[in-house]
């Protein structure tokens, strides 16, 4: 490369080019060659500045680009008004190229002469004529790759026992095998395995309240089946997953399935047609496709054709499609599906029960896996409390995490924290389970509390559960006189009422109704009186 163009050497940045022994040095102000798509015709640019980026590991350069004759578009060539020299280069003033480049892409230097006298070919000089390139419109990034930038410093690993426990108790650190779901795992595994081995299709409906491990169990089944397929125990199969909540529209399901199966992008209707063709026609050496549809109830449309297709395709002879659907309600097929859709879904159903307290305790213990961070009765308390309320594993794990945080903060020094005790767990339970209406009433200002009492007094007088602001205001004025306070104006009363309405201690009508807006209580009367009574004592 370098010999071909007759280079000059000077000494500021050393570049070694692969396959060359001599080391080139470039300085700002020189013209350089930059690696491009064409090895024989690299890009030409003028080096403006050399700098390193923040971590000083990556050196970058600021350049002014030039265009070779071959890169100039035809319509601009005609503008020139003369036939240009074959080795001519032109200033590039457009904005489609980044002016900052990595120095690794610099190949070497080149000499450029600004000249209008005729040049002999092969002399190695490039005459340079500035040409105004029109700014090009920014092109739609067709090959944009989705990514979040990376950290400059890696994340810190857990230091002490409590941090370790916290990392293990995070909901996202799913263990290899889920405890307490062995039976369900076996049933789903048998179902999918039999379909894959027979080369047929089928549907299964899995239901259960949130947080009972449905999606996690299915993922575990698929992982084991993949392992078995790698060991050649069962035929190969493909796994794709869609989620009703991660789509903007039910018909996007077709688009996503097509993209995950074949990598093709299409509109919803076209994708539906292509999938129909794919699952109807026999094809040699077709492997079974296992499709997981999460949050099935969001794929509901009025004509229910998305759900119909999803359950109809497995019934085709050559489709070899196994569909596993997950939703929250046990009777979803009876409730929202029309007959033909429900019958195609079939009767293979599985229901995940909420966890009992023993199961929750087992889950926490298996997650902690010999990291001794909790006391026995603290763990029991959490499990019993959560099992009594919802049986949701996520709640349980979050409360345990919060308890470890409280334990760590209450200790004077993080390393002397000790085990998580009942008191920490009770504090975490209080925080995460209590409703704060009572505290909010106690912390309200005096006029706000008087207003609440006026509301209750007016309800008692009317015998109803709602009243207009005007009526309540009359009671409020009376209460002010009783308490010996200065009476407030209507505007101030409206402001007090609005503040209580914003926190939803009261439910109000639209504020354009002014004094005629109706007021209801969002808290029970007993709770309000209890909160106010304790305050006065």
């Amino acid at each position: 490369m370098e010999t071909m163009f007759g280079l000059f050497l000077s000494r500021y940045l050393n570049i070694g080019v692969e396959g060359q022994e001599a080391v080139t040095t470039v300085t700002p102000g020189q013209y350089i060659l930059i690696e491009g798509n064409d090895d024989d015709n690299p890009f030409v640019a003028k080096l403006l500045k050399l700098f390193g980026d923040e971590s000083h590991k990556q050196k970058k350069a600021l350049v002014q680009w030039f265009l070779r004759l071959s890169e100039v578009p035809q319509n601009k060539k005609l503008l020139l008004g003369r036939s240009p020299h074959p080795q001519e280069i032109f200033y590039y003033l457009g904005r489609a190229c980044d002016d900052e480049i990595n120095v690794e892409s610099i190949l070497g230097t080149v000499h450029v002469r600004q000249d209008s006298s005729p040049v002999e070919p092969n002399s190695g000089f490039f005459p340079c004529f500035p040409i105004q390139a029109t700014p090009s419109t920014p092109r739609t990034p067709r090959n944009a790759t989705p990514s979040i930038p990376s950290r400059t410093v890696p994340a810190r690993q857990p230091g002490n026992i409590l941090e370790e426990a916290r990392a293990r108790l995070h909901v996202s650190s799913v263990p290899e095998s889920l405890p307490c779901r062995e039976q369900e795992f076996q049933d789903i595994y048998n179902f999918v395995e039999s379909k894959v081995m027979d080369g047929t299709g089928g549907c299964m409906y899995i239901s259960g309240v949130p947080g009972t491990g449905k999606t996690a169990t299915v993922h575990e089944v698929i992982r084991c089946l993949q392992h078995a397929s790698d060991m050649d125990e069962i035929p190969m199969f493909r796994f794709i997953e869609i989620n009703g909540m991660k789509m903007t529209d039910p018909h996007q399901a077709y688009v996503q399935i097509l993209q995950k199966l074949t990598g093709q992008k299409a509109t919803a209707d076209h994708a539906a047609a292509l999938l129909e063709k794919r699952f109807s026609n026999p094809a040699p050496k077709k492997e079974t496709t296992v499709l997981l549809v999460d949050e099935l109830d969001l794929l509901w449309t009025r004509k229910q054709n998305v759900m119909y297709n999803l359950f109809d395709w497995p019934t085709r002879h050559h489709a070899r499609l196994v569909v596993l659907t997950i939703a929250n309600t046990m009777d979803l097929p009876e409730r929202i599906m029309i007959n033909r859709v429900a019958s195609r879904l079939g009767l293979t159903r599985m229901s995940f029960q909420p966890y009992s307290f023993k199961q929750l305790q087992q889950i926490i213990t298996s997650r902690l896996n010999k990291v001794k961070a909790f006391e026995e009765d603290a763990m029991q308390l959490v499990s019993r409390k959560v099992a009594a309320l919802s049986g949701d594993a996520r709640r349980c794990l979050d409360i345990c995490r919060r308890a470890t945080e409280i334990c760590e903060h209450s200790a004077s020094h993080p390393s002397t924290a000790g085990l998580v005790r009942m008191s920490h767990v009770m504090e975490a339970l209080d925080e995460m389970f209590s409703s704060s209406y009572i505290t909010a009433i106690r912390c309200a200002s005096l006029q706000e509390q008087l207003f609440l009492r006026a509301v209750i007094a007016e309800f008692r007088r009317l015998g109803l559960e709602e009243a207009t602001f005007q009526q309540v205001f009359v009671q409020h004025q009376a209460l002010c006189r009783v308490e010996g306070l200065q009476p407030i104006s209507v505007s101030e009363g409206l402001a007090v009422c609005q503040r209580l309405g914003a926190c939803r201690l009261l439910l109000l009508e639209a504020s354009r109704l002014d004094v005629l807006q109706r007021v209801r209580l969002n808290v029970s009367q007993d709770d309000v009186l209890y909160a106010l009574k304790a305050d006065r004592d």
């Binding site: 944009a144 979040i148 930038p149 996202s172 945080e405 909010a440 706000e448 209507v490 101030e492 201690l505």
Partner: protein
């Protein structure tokens, strides 16, 4: 030649005052965050620890900050973010994304805003390419490819969180909370809201994925602490250049806060609401009366400011009405008394007014019907009376049912202060049965 040591700098009074105005106005108009938020130490610690763990350890979290309006939620969050970004490891390592429920009214707009703030690859300049479905898929793909130890944590700050729960299917909330509970790029979802019942708005799937951490900002300030707060808000900071003025000013503030009428005024404000915002409004009004010729805040300033804050909003409107309009209002008041708040129409009011003219009035002229109708319509435009039926059926305007939007006490008070009100009108207003 003796060297004179300059012990203290003296500035002319005018310049001192303009400095004081600038410092205090920055404080009251929320341009500058306080050094340390007052009265919320445990909440500050909780939030700071949480965000520090996300930034340093890559642990995903979600939290809601709940508190009444003006209690300092955004201020707390900004103080915590400021302190967090001072830590060396954190500064270049977090990506904050600010969303507001009032600005991003739809998931589509919210997604475009997130993509733009994160500067993902489908953004060119300021424009985001792709349809709603494509943007969602792109963002989810980007977050999925991330990893706990090597991706930068993203902090999603959702102001007016309750408004996001009204979007269709709560897609954005579901997806953000799902990412915070999966082994993907570490994120922290921080919601700010003033509704105490915000968890009831979330759908069961979204609620299950939320970690139920709530930080409540319910202030239990006593009146003494409130007074201390007022004093510290009005005092100048230590680094004020003119030390003599600094001493004088702080001394005057101290005596101001011990003055009994001022304490009464502050007590009244404290009874009405304990939050920072209304206090700052009051102090701002008092501060605006300070000038070079009057370089201190006097008790009368505070009393006057309080009067401005507490004034009834309709009082001035009532003072600007004509006598005829006032008489119509008094007629409506009598109708309300007799018929216990039932709606009335123009004819009823006119009859009541004519009764007054015949029996009691000496000074009011007997106006023609069109003039009275005009006065009635003016009252309707001022929204002192409002039409009750919103039906499209066209009823003649004299017979449309209306209700009065004024309270008894507002009318009586306006009458007392009305300039040159004829006595027979006053007596008519105060009589029991018209």
């Amino acid at each position: 030649m003796s060297k004179r040591k300059v012990k203290e700098t003296h500035m002319p009074v005018g310049e001192c005052i303009s400095q004081v105005q600038m410092i205090l106005r920055e404080r009251f108009c929320h341009r500058r965050l306080p050094e340390k938020p007052v009265g919320m130490e445990s909440q500050h610690k909780h939030l700071l620890e949480l965000l520090r763990r996300t930034a340093v350890h890559g642990e995903s979290n979600s939290v809601l900050i709940v508190g009444p309006r003006g209690s300092g939620k955004t201020m707390l969050l900004n103080c915590v973010l400021r302190e967090l970004l001072e830590v060396k490891d954190v500064n270049k390592n977090v990506l904050p994304v600010h969303l507001n429920g009032l600005l991003q009214t739809d998931d589509r707009i919210a997604l475009k805003e997130i993509t733009r703030q994160l500067n993902l690859e489908n953004v060119v300049g300021d424009k985001v390419f792709g349809s709603f479905a494509e943007n969602l898929a792109f963002l989810l793909e980007a977050l999925k490819k991330g990893d706990r130890s090597s991706s930068r944590p993203v902090l999603f700050i959702l102001d007016e969180f309750d408004l996001f729960a009204h979007h269709k299917n709560q897609t954005l909330l579901y997806n953000l909370l799902d990412v915070s509970q999966s082994a993907q790029a570490p994120i922290a979802v921080i919601g700010l809201t003033c509704r105490l019942d915000v968890l009831e708005l979330l759908e069961k799937r979204v609620k299950s994925r939320f970690s139920h951490r709530q930080i409540h900002l319910l202030s239990s300030l006593s009146f003494i602490q409130y007074l201390d707060n007022v004093r510290s808000q009005l005092s100048l900071p230590q680094d004020f250049p003119d030390t003599k003025f600094y001493d004088e000013w702080n001394e005057s503030i101290k005596t101001l806060c011990e003055d009994q009428p001022v304490v009464d005024v502050l007590q009244r404000h404290y009874n009405s609401s304990k939050d920072f915002r209304s206090l700052h409004l009051l102090l701002m009004l008092a501060l605006s009366r300070v000038s070079a010729s009057k370089p201190a805040i006097k008790p009368t300033d505070l009393l006057e400011a309080s009067r401005v804050c507490m004034v009834d909003s309709k009082a001035n409107i009532l003072h600007g009405l004509s006598i005829l309009e006032l008489c119509l209002i008094i007629a409506m008041k009598h109708l309300n008394d007799i018929y216990e708040g039932e709606p009335f129409n123009f004819q009823m009011v006119h009859n009541e007014f004519k009764k007054f003219l015949q029996r009691k009035s000496h000074s009011i002229h007997n106006f023609d019907k069109p003039v009275v109708i005009k006065a009635f319509e003016h009252l309707q435009q001022l929204e002192l009376i409002k039409s009750m039926d919103s039906s499209t059926a066209k009823i003649q305007k004299e017979y449309q049912l209306m209700k009065l939007m004024l309270d008894h006490s507002q009318i009586m008070e306006a009458l007392q202060k009305y300039p040159q009100c004829p006595t027979d009108v006053k007596q008519w207003a105060m009589s029991a049965f018209g």
